[in-house]
């Protein structure tokens, strides 16, 4: 141990610090590829040490007591590192899912969104959410999106469409699952300011061309998704 400048598990602790910082500041940090690889390397190193410490399999006698502490030490370090690695990835997945729901499930929008949502610094393209993800995480989000889509379209149309309208009504047609659930609606209408052009949208009052800077009084249900995605702002 004296030859190492760090203890086993130090690197994994750094990974967990990343997760903690991400939670504390509610930001998505960049995927720490370097550190993950370093911990994986430490795992291989530990495995080699462990195998070297174990008596050869053809040795028939019982494991001498003297090597038990050594084996236990390596095994504990291995278990801990592995849990830390998995915890780091699981934590990121939870964060990504939060982000996904925050923008109402608009995946392409999420990927191209400037990562720091609170500060409105100019996004320079290289600083979007996608740049902070590992390729596997992008894959995960795509598959997650697809799974949710399947979930929404398969919400048993038989039981919900029992009124003889051809069974075409599904739950999602009536209730937008991706709309926010933080507070119940108090008003039917909402006054919005257009933050970004979003073209012509069909509403209860007919088609409205939402141009930047204009204000409209519209039905909340018609524009909820645009508010969530940041095209409109409530006044």
């Amino acid at each position: 141990m004296s030859t190492h400048t760090h203890q086993f598990g130090d690197l994994a602790t750094q990974l967990l610090m990343d997760s903690r910082r991400s939670t504390a500041t509610e930001t998505l940090l960049k995927y720490n590829d370097v550190l993950v690889r370093a911990v994986v390397r430490e795992q291989r190193h530990l495995e080699a040490l462990l195998q070297a410490a174990l008596p050869p399999p053809d040795a028939d006698q019982d494991t001498p007591d003297a090597i038990l502490p050594t084996v236990l030490l390596y095994q504990t370090a291995i278990n801990r590192n592995k849990r830390c690695l998995l915890a780091y990835h699981a934590h990121r997945i939870e964060r990504l899912k939060d982000l996904y729901w925050q923008v109402g499930g608009a995946l392409p929008l999420l990927l191209s969104m400037p990562a720091a949502t609170s500060s409105n610094s100019a996004s320079d393209g290289a600083n979007d959410v996608r740049a902070k993800l590992s390729p596997h995480e992008v894959d995960f989000l795509r598959s997650y999106n697809a799974s949710l889509l399947a979930f929404r379209s398969s919400l048993s149309p038989t039981s919900y469409g029992a009124d003889g309208n051809g069974g075409e009504h599904t739950l999602t047609e009536d209730v937008d699952l991706l709309a926010p659930i933080t507070r119940p609606p108090k008003d039917l209408h909402v006054l919005v300011r257009v933050a970004r052009d979003c073209g012509v949208v069909h509403t209860e009052q007919g088609a409205i061309d939402f141009r930047r800077g204009h204000r409209f009084l519209v039905r909340r249900a018609d524009v909820e998704h645009l508010i969530v995605q940041g095209f409109l702002e409530e006044v």
Binding site: H89, S134, F151, S156
Partner: protein
């Protein structure tokens, strides 16, 4: 919403007399407070959504009718607002279940007893999500580890299990809707949940009462 069910009901009401929406509110509250996944209320949801659709159709008709008076327009607005609020509860209910389904996806996938509490859509999503998560872990971490360390299932002393399960020890506030049989507390003593009583107990203590609809979580 919360004002619809209030605290302890002043008038003794049988559970059967609840309106569909009040039932949904109760199931929604239970689901939100319970650590475990409760049986899904698909039929109830279907009834409510049918009702919502009828109301919306009526509203459309009345709005289009030039003879509707000012008073009626005001009432229409109230109905529309109420419809939006019902939809909110439906959405929140489905999302609450979805959250649990994802959180415990791997446990659900290997525990057949839970399956009957889920709708087909939820079960399919749970299985897909469990696979997705395992695939992600394998791709990101496990496949680069030495072969002996690649398992996603391991029982190690002094470590929590690797598959998250609902924590039935979690304390919940429980409100008795009618007189219930005695329940046994973890310290060995028993309490009687007479009607209207509110207690704080571990979830597993009142699990069976909740399943029979004799109590609600608040």
């Amino acid at each position: 919403m919360p004002d619809d069910f209030g605290g302890p009901n002043i008038l003794p009401q049988e559970v059967a007399e609840e309106t569909a929406f009040q039932q949904l509110i109760r199931h929604w509250m239970n689901e939100r407070h319970s650590p475990d996944i409760l049986p899904g209320q698909e039929l109830l949801l279907g009834r409510i959504l049918d009702h919502v659709r009828k109301q919306s159709d009526d509203v459309q008709l009345l709005r289009a009718d030039p003879d509707s008076s000012e008073d009626e327009h005001f009432r229409i607005m109230l109905v529309q607002t109420e419809v939006e609020r019902v939809k909110f509860v439906v959405r929140s209910y489905v999302r609450t279940r979805l959250h649990k389904v994802e959180k415990y996806a791997r446990w659900i996938a290997k525990t057949p007893e839970v399956h009957e509490r889920l709708s087909k859509a939820e079960l399919d999503h749970a299985k897909r999500y469990a696979r997705l998560l395992e695939y992600h872990f394998t791709q990101s971490v496990l496949q680069s580890l030495p072969p002996d360390q690649q398992s996603l299932e391991e029982e190690t002393a002094f470590m929590p299990p690797m598959t998250p399960e609902p924590d039935k020890l979690r304390p919940v506030f429980v409100h008795a809707l009618r007189d219930c049989p005695h329940v046994q507390l973890p310290d060995g003593s028993t309490i009687t949940m007479e009607k209207g009583r509110i207690s704080l107990t571990p979830y597993y203590v009142i699990e069976h009462l909740l399943a029979r609809g004799e109590v609600e979580l608040v």
